[in-house]
Structure formats: structure tokens, C-alpha cells
């Protein structure tokens, strides 16, 4: 441990330094109060200081007072050195903030004993500070988690009622527009057949031309709202259904079937799932949703590029099912990566994405006691990895082989 000494008398200083060095302390030597104060203000200042009381320019007492005033948390252990032996001086030194008091002349044994007390105190203080920091970090993480959980819960409740409330107005916007579309066709056909459509008025021609597009525009908007509401409902109702024992292959097969119509012909899907994987205990529809959302995102990411490949791998790691979905898209930019699991975060243009996909499936996986992570593959493209707990502890031979046929 490093020890600072401050002593203006050169003989006393040399003696003090010698004793400390002989006992394997590294010593920072200062010759007056100002030097000592400056040294103690440095971020890597020694944790123990031995200050002579009487020094020119700044006394040891003043150094103590100043240090205690300015550095409340990270404060050295200070031993005051003096030839004053009266009780009043002792009280004054300790009262000013010194931790210990050593009267001259002192024997080396006594000095060393007191430094060792100082070391103990410093160690204890450090441990306490570490502990406090840890607790603080823990509290912060917990608070973040709570805020997150709270937001999720609110969103869940909100979305159930909101979805319902939005549905009615959307119904009559949508319905009226569809009726109007029908009526418009009937009207224009009829007028055309009677040759009653005015040909000479550019404004009327414009209206005849543009009205169907306006109606289409409304319906497009309605469809978009419908998609969002569906997403929200899924978000709110994801808890529904029963958990059952099932094989991940079966769930994946259903998901791939469902995704058939969005997977482009030039995209290759590689499924690398060993035959003998053990069962998982899950809500099959929800895990299907997980696959569907991840595959959909991968397909979107690879977009119109000429080649495309999605690789789906399953394995057992530390008694959990680990599933990886890797694509050959552009990957996820570093500034986007931390946000992708937030509800409503999307980089897709309005109408193409709701930003709910990953938020929903992360929730689903966490409710299953699993997790979901996103990263970029070294060779390019995004990798989403999720884990699911197994139905029963996995024996290396594989529980399937152990099962006897009746």
C-alpha cells in the first residue's frame, strides 16, 4: 500500500521514510502542507497519509480540514504527527478530521501498528464502497426492469381495450367506403350506358378519373390500421392457450408452411434440426408465432436482393433448447440494434412494419422462461438466437432412445 508523508524537518522526514520503506511500503514524500494537499487531491492519491502538524505555509491540521471539506467520499486515512502531548491537542486533531494521532517521539513499532490499523480501515472502506456501488447498480437495473414491465403491462391492457374501441369506427369507415365504391361503379356504368357522362368538362373528367383512387386510398389506410390493431390484440392476448409437450420440429414445420407465401422463390431455407432433439413444454401457437415473426423479418431484410438464404439451427446447450435463425440480409446497424425490441420501433416504411413483432416474441419467450438475442453474424446478416427450457433434463443419449415401446 502507498503512504504519503508530509514533514518539513528533513531529519524526521528521512527517518520516517526509512522506517516505511524498510517495511515494504511505497512512500510519497512531501515537504510541506501545500505539497501534501496537492498530492492528496490527485485521483490516484495514497490511501494513507502521515502529516506533521507544524509545517510552514499550511499546517497538517489545515490539510486535514481542507481534505475533509472537499473530498467527502474518497478520503484518505490520516494520521497526525506532533510533539504536542496534551489532551486538548488530541481532541483538536481528531475533531478536525484526523483518523489517528501519534505523539513524537514515537518508536517504529508503534508507527507501524497504527499504519496497519489504517490499512484495515481503508480496506473496510473500500469494500463498503464497492458494495454500495454494486447495490446501486442492482437497484438501477431493477428499476429499469420494473419500468419496462410496467410499460409492457400497461401496453397490454391498453391494447386490448384500444383494439376494441378502434374496431368499430374502422368498421364503418371501411364499410361505407366499400359501399361507396360499389355505388360509384354502378353510377358511372349506368351513366356511360346512357351516354350521359359529360365529355367536355375537364373537372368532371378529373373527378371521374380520380374518385376510385381516392376510395382505394381510404381502404389502404383502413387496412393499415387493421394490421396495427391485430398486432396489438396479439400483444394483449398472447397469454391465451395451453402449454403442451411438443417437438420443436413440428412447430417449425407449421411456421414454415405459414410463411410459404412470403418466402420468395430465390430464397433458400436450410433447416438444421437434429432428429432426436428432446421435447419442449410450450404454447405451440406462441412459439410458432416466434418462428413466423423471425422468418418474416429475415425475408423482409433480404428483400429484393438476388440471392437469399435463411438458416435455422437447433441444438441443446446447457440443458436448454437453443435456436438460431440466421439470414443473409444487410444485418442490423449498430445504432438500431439496441432499439429493435421496443414496441413500435421499426425501420420499415409505414404500412410494411408495425414494430411490434420482436417486442411480442421477446415477451412470449421470456414468459416461457427463455430469452431472445439479436446480433450480426461475422460473415454478414443478422442472427437471432433464442432459448427454451426443456421438458425434462436432457441425458446425453437422448430421452427418446430411453423410452421403451409398449
Amino acid at each position: 500500500m502507498r503512504v504519503l508523508i508530509a514533514e518539513d524537518d528533513s531529519v524526521s522526514r528521512t527517518v520516517l521514510e526509512a522506517i516505511l520503506k524498510k517495511n515494504n511500503y511505497s512512500v510519497l514524500v512531501t515537504e510541506n502542507g501545500v505539497e501534501a494537499f496537492e498530492a492528496l487531491c490527485q485521483p490516484d492519491a495514497p490511501a494513507i497519509a502521515i502529516l506533521d502538524w507544524m509545517m510552514p505555509r499550511m499546517t497538517g491540521l489545515e490539510v486535514v480540514q481542507q481534505i475533509r471539506l472537499e473530498y467527502r467520499e474518497r478520503s484518505p486515512y490520516i494520521i497526525m504527527l506532533t510533539s504536542r502531548k496534551d489532551a486538548q491537542s488530541l481532541v483538536q486533531a481528531l475533531g478536525s478530521g484526523a483518523d489517528d494521532y501519534l505523539a513524537k517521539p514515537y518508536g517504529p513499532e508503534e508507527l507501524l501498528a497504527r499504519i496497519r490499523v489504517g490499512e484495515r480501515m481503508v480496506q473496510m472502506q473500500n469494500a463498503l464502497a464497492d458494495h454500495a456501488r454494486e447495490m446501486e447498480a442492482l437497484a438501477e437495473a431493477r428499476a429499469k426492469q420494473l419500468i419496462h414491465a410496467d410499460r409492457m403491462a400497461t401496453l397490454g391492457v391498453l391494447s386490448a381495450s384500444m383494439a376494441h374501441e378502434i374496431n368499430n369506427p374502422v368498421t364503418f369507415i371501411s364499410g361505407n367506403t366499400q359501399t361507396l365504391q360499389r355505388a360509384w361503379t354502378i353510377l358511372t356504368e349506368n351513366l356511360k350506358n346512357r351516354k350521359a357522362l359529360p365529355q367536355d368538362d375537364p373537372q368532371i373528367s378529373f373527378i371521374l378519373e380520380e374518385t376510385p383512387a381516392m376510395l382505394e386510398g381510404i381502404l389502404k389506410g383502413v387496412n393499415r390500421i387493421t394490421q396495427i390493431v391485430k398486432g396489438l390484440k396479439l400483444y394483449a392476448h398472447k397469454g391465451a392457450g395451453e402449454k403442451t409437450i411438443c417437438f420443436i420440429q413440428d412447430i417449425l414445420k407449421n411456421a414454415l408452411e405459414f410463411c410459404q407465401n412470403i418466402i420468395q422463390p430465390h430464397m433458400e431455407i436450410h433447416v438444421d434440426v437434429p432428429e432426436d432433439l428432446p421435447e419442449v413444454f410450450v404454447h405451440p401457437q406462441q412459439i410458432e408465432q416466434v418462428f413466423i415473426n423471425l422468418i418474416t423479418n429475415a425475408v423482409h431484410a433480404m428483400g429484393k436482393s438476388h440471392s437469399g438464404e435463411i438458416r435455422i439451427m437447433a441444438s441443446i446447450r446447457e440443458n436448454r433448447m437453443r435456436i438460431e435463425i440466421k439470414d443473409k440480409g444487410p444485418g442490423i446497424p449498430a445504432d438500431v440494434l439496441p432499439k429493435i425490441f421496443q414496441p413500435f420501433f421499426t425501420t420499415k416504411k409505414a404500412g410494411d412494419g408495425t414494430g411490434l413483432g420482436l417486442a411480442i416474441i421477446k415477451d412470449i419467450l421470456e414468459e416461457h422462461g427463455g430469452d431472445l438475442h439479436a446480433a450480426n453474424a461475422v460473415e454478414g446478416g443478422a442472427v437471432f438466437t433464442f432459448h427454451l427450457p426443456l421438458n425434462q433434463p436432457y441425458v446425453q443419449t437422448g430421452p427418446l432412445h430411453l423410452r421403451r415401446k409398449p
Partner: protein, 144 residues
């Protein structure tokens, strides 16, 4: 006339919208605000198909459905709901609704088709009963 419809929904805009749509298609349309309202109309008017919302004040769609099944076996019922849950769908099926269609009805074609099917089924029964009316009572009894 294509048929007589009764539309039951507590939201006026939806009643009006559906009413307009089916009148445009050539149906005769009546409307009601809730189940009780619908039952009192059924007492007075001829109705072939009821299109009913599920969640409504006074009397909800499922109770209306049960009541109609009891009192008017000839009347067909199509349920529409904005609150899509398995419970709602099951309640519709168990009480023998023709079908159950989810709002927001982004394709009114689905509802139109359901109405057509319902009317066709109803017409078939009506025809059978007409035939029956023309027959003598004993021709009916001595078959086996």
C-alpha cells in the same frame, strides 16, 4: 326482392352503413339497437336473416341468438363481432348461428356471401313447406 334483413348493432354508424350497403344490393333492411329492440321487430315484421353484433346493452347478441333459435327457427342469424375471442366464437357456434364474422369487415364480400347462403337455405325450407302444404295429410304419414 332479394330478402328481408334485420341489422342489430348498438353503433348507429355501423347500422346505417350495413343498411345502406344491403339496400344498395337490393335487400329490404330493418335495423335495431339491441337484442330487445330486435325481438320486438321480429314480432311484427317478416325477417329472413338477422345480422347481429355481440356486445350490446339491454340484450346482447348471444342472448338474442338463443331467443331467436327458440322462437323463430326459420330465421337465420349471422353474428359480427369486434371483440374477437374464442369464447365469443364458441357461443355463436353452440347456439347455431350461421356464421360469425369479425369486424372491421374489411371485405364486405364475406358478409354478402354469408347472407346469400342464409337466404338460399331459407328459400329451400320455404319451398319444402309450400310443397308440404299442397300434399294431403295421409300421404305424409304412411311411408314406412
Amino acid at each position: 326482392m332479394k330478402g328481408n334483413l334485420l341489422i342489430v348493432d348498438d353503433e348507429k354508424e355501423i347500422r346505417d352503413m350495413l343498411s345502406r350497403h344491403f339496400r344498395l344490393l337490393g335487400y329490404d333492411v330493418l335495423t335495431a339497437e339491441h337484442g330487445l329492440d330486435a325481438l320486438s321487430i321480429l314480432q311484427k315484421k317478416r325477417v329472413d336473416v338477422v345480422i347481429s353484433d355481440i356486445i350490446m346493452p339491454e340484450m346482447d347478441g348471444v342472448d338474442l341468438l338463443r331467443e331467436i333459435r327458440k322462437q323463430y327457427p326459420m330465421v337465420r342469424i349471422i353474428m359480427i363481432t369486434g371483440y374477437v375471442t374464442l369464447e365469443n366464437a364458441l357461443a355463436c357456434m353452440r347456439n347455431q348461428a350461421d356464421t360469425c364474422i369479425f369486424k372491421p369487415l374489411n371485405d364486405l364480400g364475406e358478409l354478402e356471401e354469408a347472407v346469400q347462403i342464409a337466404i338460399a337455405a331459407q328459400t329451400r325450407w320455404t319451398r319444402k313447406f309450400r310443397e308440404l302444404k299442397g300434399m294431403k295429410p295421409d300421404t305424409h304419414g304412411g311411408q314406412s
